[in-house]
Each structure stands twice: as C-alpha cells, then as structure tokens.
Symmetry: none
Subunit: 199 residues, 4 copies
DNA sequence: GATGAATGAGTTTTCATTCAT
DNA sequence: GATGAATGAAAACTCATTCAT
C-alpha cells in the first residue's frame, strides 16, 4: 500500500519534467530527449521503460494536472451555494491556479488538443471527459430551471467559457505582474452577466 | 510586375495544402512530406525551394487565412454602427466563417500558438498582431467612453472573447449539423450581456 | 519504359547490399545500418527513403533472387522431357546455382522463414507462393498418372525436396572445394530413386 | 552435489520459456524481454544473471532440446536392427516428435543456424556436432559396406535427410490434422528407396 | 541469490534541408 | 524554375547488460 500504480518516484519525476517541457516549448517540441534532460536522465530509454509511449506519458500528464487542479478547485466550488456562486467559484479558482501552478495549466492546454484521436486507448479517457462535460451541463440546466440562469444553450456556453479561461491562462502565464485575483473576478463578472437571469 | 512576392502559383498552392494538412492533422504532425503529398508534389524540395523554412511557410498560412477572414469580416463589421453592433458583427461574422472556410479557421488556431517565439523573424509579425490588438482595445475604450460598454478591462475581455470564439470553432468544426447563425447569435448575446452598459 | 518500378539504380544497389548482408550475417543481424554500410550509403535514412520498411526491402530481396534463379533454372527445366528428367533438371540446376550466385541462395533461405507473417502485405506474396507450390504438385501428379512416378504424397515429397536442397545449399555455401555438378547429380539420383515407378 | 551445472530451477524455467518464445516468434524476435515475460519474470536482469549472454542461453536451449529428442529417439533407433531399419527408425521417430514436443523441434531449427559463428565459445559445441555427424557417417558407411545401402556420399545424404525432416517439421508444426505416423512412414519410404542397395 | 531500476548503444523511421541536374 | 535523390540529425522505441540494494 501507500503507492499507487501511477507513482513510482521516477514516473512522477518524469511526469513533472514533461509538464515543464510541454509548458515551456509546446507539445510539438516536447521530445523525449528534452524531457529526459529536464528530468536529469541520461537517456530517453528510461522514459520508454516507464511509459508505454508518448501518448501514455501525455495521458499521465493530463491525469496529474487534473488531479492537482481538482484538488484546488473542488473545495472552492463546493463551498459556494447556488448556481451563480458556483459558476463564479469555478472561474475564479481556475484563474487563481495561474498563480499556484502556471505550468500545469499551460501544459494541460497544450496537451489536450493533441490527445483526441483515433487511438482506441483514448476512448476511455474521452468518455470520462464527455461525462464530466455532461455533469456540468446538468448543473447549468438545474440553475436555469431554478431561475438563476437565463435561457441559453448550456453546451455552447460551457465551451465558450472553457475557451475564455484557457485563453486568459495562455496569455498571462508566466507574467508576474498579472493580478490573478482581479482577473478572476473580472472574468467571473463577465460570465455572470452573460448567464444570470434578467433582473 | 504582375505578381507579388507572396503569390507565384506554386507558393499559393503550397500554402493551401498546408492549411488543409494543419487543419486535419494539427501543427505537430504537419510535416513537409504530408504537405507535399497534399499539394500533389513529388518531393519536399519544392517547398524548401519556395519557402525559407517551416516558420516562413506557416507565417504565409497565417497571412493567407488572415486575408480571407478579413475579407469576410471587415465589410460586415464596417456595416454595423455603434460599439455593441460592431461587437455583435465581429462575433457573428467570425462564427459564420465556420460555414465558409472551416479549415482556414482551424489551421489558424493550430498555427498561431506555435509561432510566438524567440525567432527574430517573428518580431515584425508579432508587432502587427500587437498593433491589431491595440486597435481593438481602442475601439472598446471608445465604446466604453461613449457609454455603450460598461467598465471592464478591454484587454482581458478581448482575450476571453478570442478564446471563446476559437473554442467554439474548434469544437464544432466539420460538424454539418451545427447551426452557425444560431450559435453566432447566442455567442454574441453572451458577450453583449457581458459588455453592455447597465440598463 | 526501360526501367520498371522496382529498379532505380539505388533501389537495386540497396537490394544487392541486403542480399550480401543477409547471406553473411543472417536475417536477424541484417540491420539497415549494416546494409547501408555495405551499399556505401552514409545513412540508413536512404533505405527508408526507397523502401517502405524492412519487410518491403526483404520482399524485394526475395523477388530479385527469385528472378535470378528462375532465369537460370527455367530454361534448364524446360529443356528436359518427362517428369523424371524434369525433376532431375530442377534439382541439378538448383544446386548448380550454388556456383553461380551462392549468396543469393543463402539470402533467400534466410529471409523466407521470416516473411511468413500476419502482415496483410504478405498475403499477396504468400498467395503466389502457394500457387507455385500447387503447380508443382500438379506436375508431380501428372507424372504419377503417366506412370513415371510411384505413388506418394506430392506435397510431402516437395516439402522434403525443398528442405533437402536448401540444407545442401546452406551446408556448402562458400565452399570452393564443393563440386556442385557432382552433388547435383547425387541429390537428383537420391530423389529419382525415391520417386520413380517400380521397375 | 544434487544439482548439475545446467539445472537450478530458474535456469530450467528460463530455458523452457526461451524454447517457447523462439518456437513462436522465431530467433530474430526472441528478446530477453519476451522470454522474461513468458517465464513470468519481472525483469530481464534475472536472465543475464543466470546466463552469460544470449548465446549462452541459446546453447542451453539447444542442449535441452537435444536431450529431450535424444531421450525419445535413441531407444527407438537402438531397438532397430540393421542399417535400413535404423534409418527408418531415425526418420520416423524424428517426425513423431512433432506430436510429442513440436515447439522443441521448431526452436531447435530456429536457433541452430544462428549459433554457428566465430565466437570461440561455440567451438566446443561445434566440435560435438561434428563428432555426432561423423558417427552417423560411419554408421552409414558400415551399412554400405554390409551391402544394405547402395553407394552414395554419406555426408551429402545426411545433410539432405536432415533438411528434409526439418522442412517437414517446420511445414506442419502446429497442424493438428497432420498424421505424423503416416508422414514418418512416407518420409522413411522416400529415403529407404533412395539409399537401399539395388534389389 | 534475487530484484528491478538504470544505462547506453542499437533499432527503424521521419524530418527539414541541400544539391546536382 | 523545377526535380528528386541524398543527407544527417533527430525522433520514438527496444535491446542486452549492469549494479546497488
């Protein structure tokens, strides 16, 4: 006990290195060589030894980032009451992550578009993403029926929101002068106005 | 005279092929080989002959897409009067492009994040992007001062808007059942509510 | 005209080098590196440039050897009359090849067992091998019905004959003291006695 | 005492796994990884620990198969009287092995051609093979002198016989519809006719 | 004896680029 | 201008082997 399948010291170290390299150079240039160098490994063979392939490693990157961000955001969202407050908590806590683990966020945004593919190994992962999206949709619909949100297409709004947050993250990642709290509040204001029921 | 620097038949043909390959496979997998095959060329040497390198080709892709999208959007935006109407026209015409040249949009979104770099050749390009962004910011500020828009950070809003539109484009590119007019209106509603002055 | 798909100078040169390397080191150790060195190429990339992969190259090796051996054996077999004489011509001309192109024969014997596989690209090839085997079986059956050969299972006999010839080839390949004419006659005697009708 | 050099539990287990992997995938693809997996070992280090190298392991494979086949064939050959009967017993018992331990035979045929090499470690092994061959040659010569066999080159005949048996084994290994008894009798008939003195 | 992580050379393959024709 | 063969570096991955525990 005590150590899960995905953690074996080296594995975690490689995943961390991959996050940093992807965040810095982008997915296209994140080769095993650079990841190995970042991790202080003498050869790329070590990565192949611990991961079935590039896709496997990148999935682990996504899983790790998802874990970290969920640990940060979930309690904050859970502490909010009502649809509007929950939406605000979602946006603000997501933007605040920029100050907590900026490279994690950037890495996630870089990797995700490159994982969706024909590879059957991705099916399970994509299923879980779809389920998460559907849960969010249901929450939005519930708030609409409760009269908190106006009428709009939940899916379109969620896609737009996701894109807006990601764009903000990508634009200001690594900028120490960026005020995440203020930006989070502004972005939350934006989508609050866009979604709230008519006064 | 008679042909400009950027057009020479072959060059245009290669740029078109690059747009299609990038849209279909993503930037990371858009190699000269695949672009040459798409363009019906028997060797990649032709591409290196016409372009100084991959970055040069990709810049041309961006330029071409920018040209096409500007030709579509500019008159529509110009026909609108007032900040709110112009914002709506911007969003709707951008989303409508999804039905006009979906691969151009997707290619642009794939390429752009991979061009920002240390390469000095990019400086001029990034300058022009910054100028365009500043023009948009000024327009937003003018509408704020005219009382059409409420107070918000123009840059943050523009970044969020850009991300929201791109996310919608990426999500529904190639989906023939997607109603671009309706989606454009919804997304415009969203940002109209987010930006308009208090009633 | 004048040059077929499979011949482009370099391709033929690489196939020749592959034949020599396989004959000398065996299939397992015939890497692209060694073949490139044998061919005087500076990199293995050139081989991948001309061939779709190792299987493609090895198929070409088989095709080339088949071509050469058929050119030698076919007229000799055709000049013989009757089943017994044809069988003798088949065996003798096959063994005589040992003096003509010993490395071709050895390469063929090395490669063949490693090509039979699940790869769908091999299906066509294996079909042609099966057809050739069936033609030989029919010829044997005809000679049996004509009273030249005794009763035996043609397929078993052909498999045994093939193995016997190959074993002789492998045993004495590269041995300059080996008398191929005498050995061919002896091996033909062996199978003539084994197959001829009772006197 | 109590355990010989070649048997230590683990060693035997690894040799068994190697036989199975070589028989199934061929010598070229029989890596330590696959053998370790087949043996239920978690790492290839165990194999390197017990064997000096790949050649050492493969020699052990040959030794083990030789042991098993000798145990089966020797009493059957010994029970026969006279050269002709002994030859028949040799062939029939060899083919019958196909039903007893098909993978052993196939593994042997795969490994043997890849062992003959410049490696000084093989000298002793090849000596023993040569000695075995010479014993067989002497037996053949004795039968020739006794008038049982006609005149032919014993070595050529033995090589051809070995190749014929091996080809039959390789062709029908794993085929449950193959009648080993009938095939053994046919093949023995073939070589009996080829070798017996004129009636 | 036994383990499994680490190593570094090796594999095939693809890449962008160059160059003689 | 155009071609396509050639190049060499780099990619992902596998290999047999070693070594500290």
């Amino acid at each position: 006990m005590g150590r899960t399948f995905t953690e074996s010291g080296r594995r975690a170290q490689i995943v961390q290195a991959a996050i940093e390299v992807v965040a810095e150079l982008g997915y296209a240039k994140a080769s095993f060589s650079r990841i190995a160098k970042q991790a202080g490994l003498s050869s790329t063979g070590m990565i192949s030894y611990h991961f079935a392939g590039k896709d496997d490693l990148m999935h682990e990157v996504v899983a790790e980032v998802t874990r970290v961000t969920a640990a940060f955001m979930t309690p904050r969202i859970g502490a909010a009451e009502g649809g509007r407050a929950r939406l605000r908590a979602f946006i603000e806590s997501n933007v605040e992550l920029l100050a907590v683990c900026p490279r994690h966020l950037k890495a996630l945004i870089e990797v995700l578009p490159n994982l969706g593919g024909d590879d059957p190994a991705n099916v399970g992962y994509q299923d879980s993403m779809r389920v998460a999206m559907e849960l969010q949709e249901q929450a939005v619909r519930a708030a609409q029926e409760a009269g908190e949100f106006r009428e709009f297409d939940p899916r379109l709004m969620l896609v737009a929101l996701r894109g807006a947050i990601d764009a903000v993250v990508m634009r200001w990642v690594g900028d120490p002068t960026f005020d995440v709290t203020e930006a989070g509040r502004e972005l939350a204001d934006t989508f609050d106005r866009a979604t709230r029921a008519e006064p």
